[in-house]
């Protein structure tokens, strides 16, 4: 399963964009359309960095010192990787669960 740079992306639209679509926003201008796609992607990245920094700070930072020691640095790197792994795991398992149990999607629609 490909990683599109954000949790919750099921990749349905191909560009990974949520509504509204780029075509609706940019109108007929392809340059504007492209711009919106690129900036949206960049924002998705930024948002995730904000989110992961916040989460990993809780896990990796004790008392703020004069510099980021190597142990904390390693922790942050690991934290990012594990967060993405977690997101992928959840998507994969959700996909499997929906395939094997149709009851799952039925219970969701209630």
């Amino acid at each position: 399963r490909s990683w599109r740079g954000g949790p919750g992306n099921t990749g349905g639209t191909g560009t990974g964009m949520d509504a509204p679509s780029a075509a609706g926003l940019g109108g007929a201008d392809p340059q504007l359309q492209r711009f919106i796609e690129v900036e949206t992607q960049k924002q998705r990245f930024q948002q995730l960095v904000h989110q992961m920094t916040e989460l990993c700070w809780e896990k990796c930072m004790d008392k703020p010192g004069p510099k980021l020691d190597s142990r904390a640095e390693t922790c942050f790197v690991n934290c990012v990787e594990r967060f993405i792994d977690t997101s992928q795991f959840i998507l994969n398992r959700l996909e499997q669960t929906q395939k094997s149990k149709s009851a799952f999607s039925e219970s969701l629609s209630e």
Partner: protein, 102 residues
Amino acid sequence: MESGFGSDFGSDFGSGGGGGGGKLDPGLIMEQVKVQIAVANAQELLQRMTDKCFRKCIGKPGGALDNSEQKCIAMCMDRYMDAWNTVSRAYNSRLQRERANM
């Protein structure tokens, strides 16, 4: 597509005289949007930094920020930026690795 989108931006971004006349410059719009995005990101960063550093550095709130609290906040700000940059690099590496594997 209706002209609502164009006319909203026309007065801000269009060149030309009063009354909102003149052509829309997409290049100018894009630059303005980029600036607004950058501002929004800076605000987000500041908000989270303030939250985290308040939690780390301020115990029982006193009548003012004492010296140790101020020093802590200053260090915390720098460490938060270090953390942010580390996370950004790590995430970027991961994305590139994923794309290479696709």
